[in-house]
Symmetry: C2
Subunit: 278 residues, 2 copies
């Protein structure tokens, strides 16, 4: 029987550190980290996330500026809003909630964010620095994944890690972070042959494919650390890629959904803005 | 007994295509692709490369501007040279020969190259777009590697590819290109355990570690495609990572050194500037 990797608990440890960091800055009379979030239109999903980010940020002592813009805003107006925030030295991190309305070129607008405030890792410059191994903001979900693995105090160096999925926001950057920790990394996807065999031999399995119940105990061994990044809503409930009850009987460690990776991401975002200030 | 992958022959095919492309543009009265190369100081290695790039470019009908700057040039002067070339619409590709003298911040200066003219893939913006799978210049050595593999007319999709080495200029981008072709990609390096076993099971092996004679027939199988990216000079002779005479007896295909990957790179650079013009 394996152990549950508790994302909420791990997230709380980072929250405690962040709250201490902010309160020490306050005591010293230093400026407080501030996130500016831009939402265009009233996409229900975006609103939910923004409100949650604001709530958590403020509970840790940070400042959080919510900017809501009408759906009819022009590209130029949105860019000028971003450029003002770039110049505003009281703002340390800029978040642009996606998706944007169709009449706005998301790539163009995103590219206008100052890379030094790009806490959500949207710009090409930040992505370039990240893959070159230079100082860069680390995308929040991959950062959550690597920190959950590190929390187990296993030595990642030389371990075989398998990442299933090759998306720009999860699979590829997670592979890069595992590589930074000196794991031998295999990137698998829909065209991979013998996925089950490849997973079985792995020490670390990260599944980010969005296929509920895909990873069963047949994919894992007794030594496996299994990180479930799937977040598919089925009948109103959030479901991961991993059949948790089945896999936990065999693997060494498994993240639940919810309460695993997802419980960490907002905290990692806030950690990014604190680091931007340092 | 395997087959030799002939880099010179493959390179010539691309050269023929480039020469036709340029001569057709000339006939139509269209502008001709032009590379501007900047060399600071008189590093012997850089001079050799620039002269070779110029010779090959001109032999294919392209224009090639060599700009030699004194080693004492200031950072500001170098940046202003780059900015002039950015604005010059008769220049389609800018190459900055590295290394630069110590008093110049190479990262800062590189970042000033217009990403649309960054044929040598030096900027963070180009790197970011490349890893996101967007339209970007592909670094020349990885592009040489993937094109040599493609020249064999094997189906890369679903094949197991192993890349040994994780450098920013070869290992990591080559893994990305193999992933783009739907291979299952494993990135190995100095900390990898059981490298021999991992390689033996692979359909494609790319070795870029710079350890002459490291890859023997024990690392390969009868189906292996072996790409040797090693270029170490030993007793005045260029040596690859692969023991060619040994490996070719067992593997399906092997690149020689010299005459393999290295024979392709300048041609890929010129292909990049032609594509910049399109």
């Amino acid at each position: 029987m394996g152990e549950v990797i508790n994302g909420k608990e791990e997230s709380q440890k980072y929250k405690d550190k962040i709250a201490r960091f902010v309160s020490e800055r306050k005591k010293k009379g230093l400026n407080i980290p501030c996130i500016a979030s831009i939402t265009v239109g009233d996409d229900g999903g975006s609103l939910y996330y923004v409100n949650n980010q604001k709530k958590v940020s403020e509970s840790l002592g940070l400042k959080f500026k919510s900017i809501f813009l009408d759906e009819s805003i022009t590209e130029e107006e949105l860019i000028s809003t971003i450029e003002e925030l770039n110049k505003d030295c009281t703002v340390h991190g800029i978040m642009l909630q996606l998706p944007l309305p169709n009449h706005i070129d998301a790539k163009l607008v995103t590219s206008k964010i100052n890379a030094n405030k790009d806490i959500d890792s949207l710009t090409d410059i930040n992505t370039g620095k990240f893959y070159k191994g230079e100082k860069a903001f680390i995308p929040c979900t991959p950062r959550s994944i690597i920190n959950l693995i590190k929390s187990l105090n296993i030595d990642i160096c030389g371990k075989n890690a398998v990442v299933i999925g090759r998306s720009n926001i999860v699979g590829k950057p997670t592979a890069q972070l595992l590589l930074n920790e000196n794991a031998t990394v295999t990137i698998c996807h829909s065209r991979t042959q013998n996925l089950k065999d490849i997973c079985k031999k792995a020490d670390i399995i990260v599944s980010a494919i969005g296929r509920p119940g895909f990873i069963t105990s047949e994919f894992v061994s007794e030594k496996s650390v299994v990180i479930d990044v799937g977040t598919t809503v089925v009948d109103g409930k959030l479901r991961g890629d991993v059949v948790f009850d089945d896999v936990i009987k065999k693997a060494a460690y498994v993240t639940p959904v919810p309460g695993g990776v997802g419980a960490m991401t907002t905290t990692m975002l806030i950690l990014n803005v604190c680091e931007a200030l340092k």
